[in-house]
């Protein structure tokens, strides 16, 4: 593999030679030690860590379209770890630690930009509860800073600070180490590094069923033939219920639409990622190309359509203009929708399943992108060792039956409200 560096870039600039392809395009073999279904960030990261950390290199990643064509390419690229429930805090903090060194680890610039994320607070009690969240984060060694109104005004001058504002700003809770990363680059980086370690990345290969022997899963049926595997991992967030159904599993998941938006490029306007969780839901950041990238609530009805509806466009636009009136005349460039696995407690699943040989990674709700490295690491650990990493123990599938849900939003078993 060609190592990417400033020198390699310079050399290619002068010689004009085409760059070699970044990952191999192999024909699927008959048998693998492990097959990962789903060539998004999580599936590719899992394959990479299986090969790199757990010594299992005879691995295939099967992707029904092209890699990164699902939610890995549809998210708003935010990376943060401001969680406060036991389990979630540690898991996302581990992920953030992996993000910090990811570009070096994978020899690929994933453009991780820890510019800071600020959760806006709109009432005195909002400030109180954010102070508590910040304290819990600090207790776990995660940087958190409570900002008052003047502090906010200094960092983010373009919000609506008038007392008559629809959402008056009382302060913010900042995680200075949070930020954004380039989502496509994350997919390509893991694919390239995994391929280099011997992982076969098979695109345009849709899994249509599981091979079973005495109840155990021993491989998959695909649009490109039968592939045997000692272990099969599912990482297809959005369609987890469909893959589960093929294996006879019913899961605590509903599929919902989440829309995202990007505006025309603007000059530098917003240095931080801003989140709003008041009477509505909104988050916004500015991409390196200048586009304002933002999103809001789910479409609120079950759907697999990857196509959002207009009431959400209206609601998100209204929130954008209420918080940042200067966006009023900015034109929208694109908006799109992804299909979210929404679980019954708003937390993900990295778990063995009742079916031997079948492992499940899914239910990422809104939070999948930032979890990519830790998710891959923990899932690889589970598949390789048949035991969960301590960080993914709380996210077992049987937590619902045990009453050990991890419900950060406190919304109860209503997936669309998480």
């Amino acid at each position: 593999m060609l190592r990417y560096s400033a020198l390699a870039l310079l050399k290619h600039a002068f010689t004009g030679q085409p760059w070699p392809r970044a990952w191999r395009d192999p024909v699927p073999k008959d048998t693998y030690d492990a097959v990962i279904v789903g060539g998004g960030g999580h599936g590719l990261a899992t394959a990479y860590y299986l090969a790199k950390e757990f010594g299992i290199r005879n691995v295939a990643v099967l992707e029904k379209g092209y890699i990164g064509s699902g939610n890995a390419g549809r998210n708003t690229t935010i990376v943060r770890s401001n969680y406060m429930l036991p389990g979630a805090t540690e898991f996302y903090d581990f992920s953030l630690k992996l993000w910090n060194s990811l570009s070096h680890e994978l020899n690929f610039n994933v453009m991780f930009s820890p510019r800071g994320q600020i959760l806006l607070l709109h009432s005195p009690d909002g400030l109180d509860s954010a102070a508590r969240r910040g304290n819990i984060m600090r207790r776990h060694g995660i940087a958190a800073k409570l900002l008052d109104r003047a502090g906010m005004q200094e960092l983010v001058p373009h919000l609506d600070y008038r007392p008559s504002a629809r959402f008056p700003i009382w302060g913010g809770l900042m995680q200075p180490t949070a930020g954004t990363a380039r989502h496509d680059a994350v997919v390509w980086a893991y694919a390239r590094a995994a391929s280099e370690l011997g992982v076969d990345i098979i695109q345009n290969c849709e899994v249509t069923g599981f091979l079973r022997e005495r109840g155990r899963v021993v491989g998959v049926q695909t649009s490109r033939g039968t592939i045997k595997a000692a272990k099969v991992g599912i990482a297809v967030a959005g369609h987890t219920s469909r893959l589960g159904e093929m294996a006879g599993l019913r899961l605590p998941i509903e599929s919902h639409l989440l829309q995202a938006f990007v505006s025309e490029p603007l000059k530098p306007l917003l240095d931080y990622v801003i989140g709003f969780g008041g009477h509505g839901h909104f988050y916004i950041s500015q991409s390196d190309k200048g586009g304002m990238v933002f999103g809001g609530d789910l479409d609120m009805y079950n759907s697999y359509a990857q196509r959002g509806n207009l009431p959400v466009v209206r609601d998100v636009a209204a929130l954008a203009v209420s918080l940042m009136p200067c966006l009023g005349r900015v034109r929208l460039l694109r908006h799109w929708a992804g299909v979210m696995d929404m679980t019954m407690d708003g937390s993900h699943v990295i778990s063995k399943t009742p079916v031997d040989g079948l492992y499940l990674n899914g239910g990422w709700c809104y939070g999948g992108f930032k979890a990519t490295p830790a998710s891959g690491w923990c899932f690889a650990h589970l598949i390789a060792r048949d035991q969960p990493d301590p960080l993914s123990v709380p996210f077992a599938l049987d937590r619902f039956a045990r009453g050990a849900t991890i419900d950060e939003a406190g919304s109860g078993p209503t997936p669309r409200l998480h």
Partner: protein, 95 residues
């Protein structure tokens, strides 16, 4: 915008309605084994295709409805009141 034909009010935008989730879920008897309750509270079929679901016409007549909608195409095939008694009432000739 989805358009739902409310049996009482007629065809309306879905933004007048509140989604109530999977209508095939039936809560078991209070004395049912805990497994039956876990299934009812937490486990969903989550189909890709026809889905029976609850909607309430919250900005209209406030009737709870059962809607059969395709989760892939968003096509609505059938709408009926959630309570059979109301269905009967609505179908009676006007007196």
């Amino acid at each position: 915008m989805l358009r739902i034909i409310c049996p009482f009010c007629g065809e309306r935008d879905h933004s007048e309605f509140t989604y109530g989730g999977d209508a095939t879920v039936v809560y078991p008897d209070l004395s049912a084994p805990v497994g039956a309750w876990i299934n009812a509270v937490y486990v969903r079929s989550n189909p890709k295709g026809p889905h029976r679901e609850r909607w309430q016409h919250s900005d209209g007549c406030r009737l709870w409805l059962i809607v059969e909608r395709d989760t892939m195409t968003h096509e609505i095939r059938r709408v009926e009141p959630a309570r059979a008694a109301i269905d009967t009432l609505l179908k009676e000739p006007a007196r």
